[in-house]
């Protein structure tokens, strides 16, 4: 079973040289720490940065330089700053090659819900609806089940949707799954996790074909 860092490391293996990548808040943010050697990717922050760098050294925080999670950050050489309209022009115009974000629920058709629990939590969608409606390549990083032990990989989402038929891949603590027209397709198992465990934890249609390899992290 993976921890959050494991999920981030596994997603980092998907990165390709030259890609521009938008990382959501939470586990996705950690992906930036595990970019494979020899791969040069630029991180886009939708509040207006391309070429986001690591957190600043203590005492060097600049209140005028934050990421979309409102965290103080730095810029890499070759970075640039732009306004919100330009930022979403990049996103909507499909110039960002990969979006990684969290989710509360994903359906086996690739629908995603992550912005609202009616009557309880309404923080807003931020940039998530633009990102999922636009990106060619969307990876969801999340736990396979919720705190009550219920699957988050469903036949149909029960929460208000963020986007429809958009998720391409899911990486959880248990598995890597592709979203195909026939449902979730199991690609890899997390170390020490059985296929049966994954089947039991997945409510939506799940395709298990042949031997399922264990991830190499």
């Amino acid at each position: 079973m993976l921890d959050k860092i494991g999920i981030a490391k596994r997603i980092a293996q998907e990165l390709k040289d030259g890609w521009y990548v938008n990382l959501g808040i939470g586990i996705p943010t950690l992906v930036a720490n595990y970019v494979p050697f020899g791969i040069d990717v630029e991180f886009q922050s939708e509040n207006g940065i391309l070429g986001m760098g690591p957190f600043p050294f203590e005492g060097e925080e600049d209140p005028d330089l934050i990421n979309a999670g409102k965290q103080t950050v730095t810029l890499r050489p070759g970075a640039c700053i732009f306004d919100s309209a330009m930022s979403f022009a990049m996103i909507r115009g499909q110039h960002v090659q990969l979006t990684v974000l969290g989710a509360m629920e994903v359906s086996d058709e690739g629908d995603i819900a992550n912005w609202k629990i009616p009557g309880r939590m309404v923080k807003g969608m931020g940039g998530a609806m633009d990102l999922v409606a636009s990106a060619e390549n969307i990876i969801v990083a999340m736990m396979h089940t919720n705190k009550a032990g219920e699957s988050k990989l469903l036949k149909q989402c029960t929460l208000p949707l963020t986007g429809v038929k958009c998720v391409k891949k899911i990486v959880t603590e248990l598995a890597v799954l592709d979203v195909t027209p026939e449902g979730f397709k199991l690609i890899e198992r997390a170390p020490g996790v059985s296929v049966e465990h994954i089947i039991k934890s997945t409510e939506g249609r799940l395709i298990v074909e042949g031997e399922i390899p264990e991830m190499i992290i």
Binding site: E46, F55, D83, S84, G124, M129
Partner: protein, 233 residues
């Protein structure tokens, strides 16, 4: 061209209860602190505020919320604010949540004389309810309309007497497009300079969009999430 005013009080003197305001900023970054303070002091209410976020409990737009001056918020993300959540869940505050990119583009459209445009964002979600859907290149899009405001209030790093503005870092965010979309746009700047002091090649917001400008003071620039690494890393 008489755009320079003395301070925030003078800049906002004719903003009235019930008006629609746009306020720049992302989180607490790049918000018009002086004008927000002046609005709190002025005490007008029933405001409709268009701003990506709603501040935090005791700063930014949170001050206006606390003071019950806002009737409706139009935003993309409103977490980090208990009083906001309380007013919203109790029905005291009307809230219109808009995808961040659509919010940015709708403000730009308002300023650019484009009354409506198609975007894929929000298709198939409750955001699309009641909106026209049309397929382009096999992909469904929804029709979104322009946003404008009685007043737009923006914060810049430097500005000149003609209203030309430059922003610093990610304090730029929504400020440039909101500046375009105000019937009257007020800019507060950290430093007001003479015409000619800014390089014409590197102006972020052309002065044509700005009707009033003043040099603000005592900027707090609070940090919401102070994240650092230690030198040893």
């Amino acid at each position: 061209m008489k755009k320079v005013v003395n301070d925030a009080d003078e800049a906002i003197h004719d903003i009235q209860s019930g008006m629609t305001l746009m306020l720049g900023g992302f989180g607490l970054c790049g918000i018009p602190e002086n004008c927000i303070a002046a609005l709190v002091k002025k005490g007008i209410n029933n405001l409709v505020c268009i701003s990506n976020n709603a501040g935090v409990d005791h700063f930014g737009l949170g001050l206006l919320l606390q003071n019950r001056q806002i009737r409706k918020m139009i935003s993309s993300y409103v977490g980090e604010n208990d009083e906001f959540e309380r007013q919203m869940l109790s029905g005291e505050l009307e809230v219109d949540l808009i995808p961040q990119g659509s919010l940015a583009e709708r403000c730009r459209a308002g300023g650019a004389g484009i009354p409506a445009f198609f975007t894929p964002a929000g298709y198939g979600t409750e955001i699309a309810e009641g909106k026209e859907v049309r397929i382009f290149n096999g992909k469904p899009h929804i029709l979104e309309s322009a946003l404008t405001a009685d007043f737009a209030i923006v914060k810049a790093w430097k500005g000149d007497h003609y209203g030309n503005l430059i922003f610093k870092g990610t304090a730029r965010n929504f400020n440039p497009m909101m500046a375009m979309a105000g019937k009257i746009t007020i800019a507060e700047v950290e430093e007001l300079v003479e015409p000619g002091a800014l390089d014409p090649n590197f102006i972020h917001t052309p002065g044509i969009f700005i009707q009033r400008i003043f040099q603000g003071k005592n900027y707090e620039k609070r940090i919401e999430q102070r994240t650092v690494r230690t030198k040893s890393q």
